[in-house]
């Protein structure tokens, strides 16, 4: 593990009188695979959106690679990649055109954009449909295109919000292995998921958020040890969050 790649200090978000995220302090190292768990409405997506700069914190701050996402957004965004739970993309662009578009946003040289873009399309099995409009893609194909475009600029941090929706078992296995392999190369992954078996399998550390508060933080064995009746991560999670909906 290296230096803290993601750091949040007293990260808080209020929507009017509702406290969505309360005083979250996190430090995630380079090369770490961090899974963020919590029941529906616990504050996972809000935290992710504050990390990526899509929401402004009411209090506190989020630092990515040492850059405050609010004060140095361009520098912070250079090193981050984001895969949302619902991949809304430009329907009237083809997959290949979308990759070129993203490459342009990140100032990648044309030659690299084409070469690496093709490589990523091949890795995510989209090469054959690269010239089809995105409106013709299935949900899984859109999700894979989100992944492919996210890695185009070689981010140091990837934030993933529930990535498994729409992916078939083969692709779930592939994405899981791909992300884990990249963490071994130094990539930091911050992933929110409800699929606890996968979190248990691949996470270096887990954070559990409930009602906006970060309840527990630790490795999988550490989290499991918190429960009165240790079992699978799912059993432990349900006990810790007192049976709320996952």
């Amino acid at each position: 593990m290296g230096e803290g790649m993601i750091r949040t200090e007293n990260l808080t978000k209020r929507f009017g009188s509702k406290l969505a995220v309360a005083n979250v302090d996190l430090e995630i190292d380079a090369g770490e695979f961090f899974c963020f768990l919590g029941p529906n409405g616990a504050g996972k997506t809000t935290t992710i959106k504050m990390l990526t700069g899509l929401l402004h914190p009411t209090e506190g701050r989020a630092l990515l690679g040492g850059h405050d996402i609010r004060k140095e957004p361009v520098q912070a965004k250079q090193i981050i990649g984001y895969i949302p739970d619902s991949p809304f993309l430009y329907e009237k662009l083809t997959g290949r055109e979308f990759m070129r578009f993203v490459a342009g946003l990140y100032h990648l040289p044309d030659a690299r954009a084409i070469e690496y873009g093709e490589e990523l399309l091949a890795v995510f099995e989209l090469r054959s449909v690269g010239d089809q409009l995105i409106e013709d893609y299935s949900h899984g194909m859109r999700q894979k295109l989100s992944f492919a475009s996210c890695f185009l600029h070689d981010p140091k941090i990837v934030v993933v919000d529930e990535p498994w929706v729409g992916l078939d078992p083969k692709n779930i296995r592939f994405v899981k292995d791909y992300l884990k392999a990249r963490t071994r190369e130094g990539l930091t992954v911050f992933m929110s998921t409800h699929t606890l078996s996968i979190a248990e399998e691949i996470a270096d550390r887990i954070g559990i958020i409930h009602n906006g508060k970060l309840l527990h933080l630790g490795t999988v064995p550490e989290i499991k040890a918190l429960a009165d009746h240790p079992g699978s991560l799912e059993d432990v999670f349900l006990e810790l969050t007192q049976g709320d909906e996952v």
Partner: protein, 565 residues
């Protein structure tokens, strides 16, 4: 509860919530829009009233018998207007029904339910009618009221107009929907763009035929009235629904209730018949068309071995990134959305009609008074076309990023660059059309150099002002929930943008009109006085344009930087 009632209730609830959500909008925005919309309506009423009273007086002056000629001219003009609107509603409903019946997100959901295709069609048809004709109600109501006021029509005239309005808009909506149903069923393998292109060509040919047969230039002849009666005689066919509407409403105004009821029954029975035919057609052919469209193979046109849009990369190579990819993306999305560029082509049609008619006008205005007015009206026409372009196509640019805004929000790109990319894209594209239009129309009208230069300068500078307004207000009041640009434009922000655009060009054109008319009326003691006034006006419109560009852009940018996604 029937399925139709359930859909209607849900739509009413949505409408209720949408109206209630106005409370959460900025009070300033709601106030400005209400004031401008109300002001425009009142202004239109007085304009129509004055025009109609002039026509009535004109008739009385010529015939000496009260309302002879004016009444004939009014009847014919009403006939032309209702016929033109009728055809426009058919065309508009072809486009609207395609997106409402085949492209809307609700369609897939509704088709899962145990609802007959007939019921589904009627449920969607009501939405088509409302969406394609609300503007007619807004713009037509001051005309109707002005007509009633100017002619001293009895109260029943207003009731009759309301009664006629519903079948008058329902009939073209049914015809338009029927055409769409047939096109989608018969030509599902044709791309939407091809269908729209054929439609536009059809309308163009129809226009050329009409222009050829009525001979617009005859209006310029001395025999005005016979020429007018002759060229509008085709609108008086008893086979036309527009004729039944005009006759029925005018009969109500004249107290001929029997004729009014007859025409109303004729119109409503035809509207119901058309709706029944369309609903039956939907029951039989909608699903086949829908599934064929959903399952069609999508190929894209190639040019020199590549898609035409692929050449954009090379053409725009001089631009730096990310501006280059943003411009390419905007152009691609625009081009691939047939409903977008088809409406753009309609603007070309309007410009072509304008240019074509200038050829007839240019030779008839030799007097300074008229030449000066024509110069001012020409600037007005060019800037109004420009305002329509920016309001319709530029305002929604930021909103169209919609739920994809996370892509740009996550990119290492300052929002300032994004907003200015939209601004410069707008200036570059609209200038290409409108500056060309100003030069061409100025040349065809034979404007003297000073008028010509002023016209071209005004159009250049208003390109900046109107683009700034449209991009700025589009960023200040974006609608990220809506993917349909036509609906984005018809929201409160779009309405505000259009009203402010009209106010801006009114000031620009008004200032020039005043100094040019003073010159014609000989109110300047010397040429120097005129040139000083001209310089003041140039400074005024330049300052106004800078303000119209910078303030909305600044406000929009500030809003975007504060915004959460």
């Amino acid at each position: 509860m029937s399925e139709l009632a359930a859909v209607a209730r849900a739509k009413l609830q949505i409408a209720k919530h949408s109206i209630a959500s106005v409370r959460t909008e900025s009070k300033l925005k709601v106030g400005v829009i209400s004031f401008c919309a109300g002001g425009m309506w009142v202004g239109a009423f007085f304009l129509f009233k004055e025009g109609l009273e002039f026509l009535i007086r004109f008739g009385a002056d010529v015939s000496g018998s009260g309302r002879g000629i004016g009444s004939i001219v009014l009847t014919r003009m009403a006939g032309v207007l209702t016929l033109a609107v009728f055809f426009m509603l058919i065309f508009s409903n072809i486009l609207v029904s395609f997106s409402t019946l085949y492209r809307s997100r609700e369609v897939a959901y509704l088709l899962h339910t145990p609802m007959s295709f007939r019921t589904f069609f009627i449920a969607r048809f009501v939405e088509c009618v409302a969406f394609s004709s609300w503007a007619l109600a807004y713009l037509g109501s001051p005309l109707v009221l002005a007509y009633g006021y100017a002619t001293g029509a009895p109260l029943i005239f207003y009731g009759a107009t309301l009664a006629f309005f519903v079948p008058y808009i329902a009939l073209p909506a049914a015809i338009g929907s029927l055409i769409t149903l047939v096109l989608a069923r018969v030509f599902p393998r044709l791309r939407m763009s091809t269908i729209v292109l054929v439609g536009i060509l059809g309308v163009l040919l129809l226009f050329l035929y009409w222009r050829q047969s009525v001979g617009v230039n005859r209006l310029s002849e001395d025999t005005f009235l016979p020429a007018l009666l002759d060229m509008t005689s085709q609108t008086q066919s008893p086979l036309l629904p527009s004729y039944w509407t005009t006759r029925g409403v005018l009969a109500a105004a004249a107290g001929s209730y029997r004729e009014c009821v007859f025409n109303f029954l004729l119109l409503i029975s035809n509207a119901l018949m058309a709706l029944w035919v369309a609903a039956e057609a939907a029951q039989r052919i909608f699903y086949m068309g829908w599934s064929s469209l959903a399952g069609r193979e999508r190929g894209r046109s190639k040019w020199l071995g590549r898609s035409p849009l692929a050449h954009l990369d090379g053409l725009l190579r001089a631009l730096p990134n990310p501006e280059r990819v943003l411009v390419i993306k905007d152009i691609r999305l625009f081009w691939r959305d047939a409903t977008q560029w088809s409406q753009f082509v309609i603007f070309f049609g309007i410009m072509a009609v304008y240019i074509a008619n200038l050829r007839n006008m240019s030779g008839h205005y030799q007097q300074d008074f008229w030449r000066s007015w024509v110069a001012c009206l020409n600037i007005g026409a060019c800037t109004l076309i420009l305002a329509t372009l920016t309001s319709r196509f530029v305002f929604p640019l930021v909103s169209l990023e919609g739920r994809r805004f996370w892509i740009l929000g996550l990119a290492p790109l300052s929002f300032r660059r994004l907003v200015f990319q939209k601004f410069w894209l707008s200036v570059a594209t609209t200038s290409a059309f409108t500056v060309g239009l100003a030069i061409l129309s100025g040349s065809m009208l034979g404007l003297e150099p000073i008028y010509f230069a002023l016209s071209v300068y005004s159009v250049i500078i208003t390109n900046f002002g109107l683009s700034g307004l449209a991009v700025g207000l589009g960023t200040l009041y974006p609608n990220f929930q809506e993917d349909n640009p036509a609906r984005i434009v018809s929201g409160m922000g779009g309405t505000l943008n259009f009203l402010l655009s009209v106010a801006y060009i009114t000031l620009v054109v008004g200032a020039q009109t005043v100094i040019l008319q003073w010159r014609v009326l000989g109110l300047y003691t010397s040429d120097t006085g005129f040139y000083v006034a001209l310089a003041v006006v140039v400074v005024f419109i330049t300052s106004l344009s800078i303000i119209s560009t910078m303030i909305p852009l600044r406000l929009g940018l500030r809003n975007l930087n504060r915004m959460e996604f």
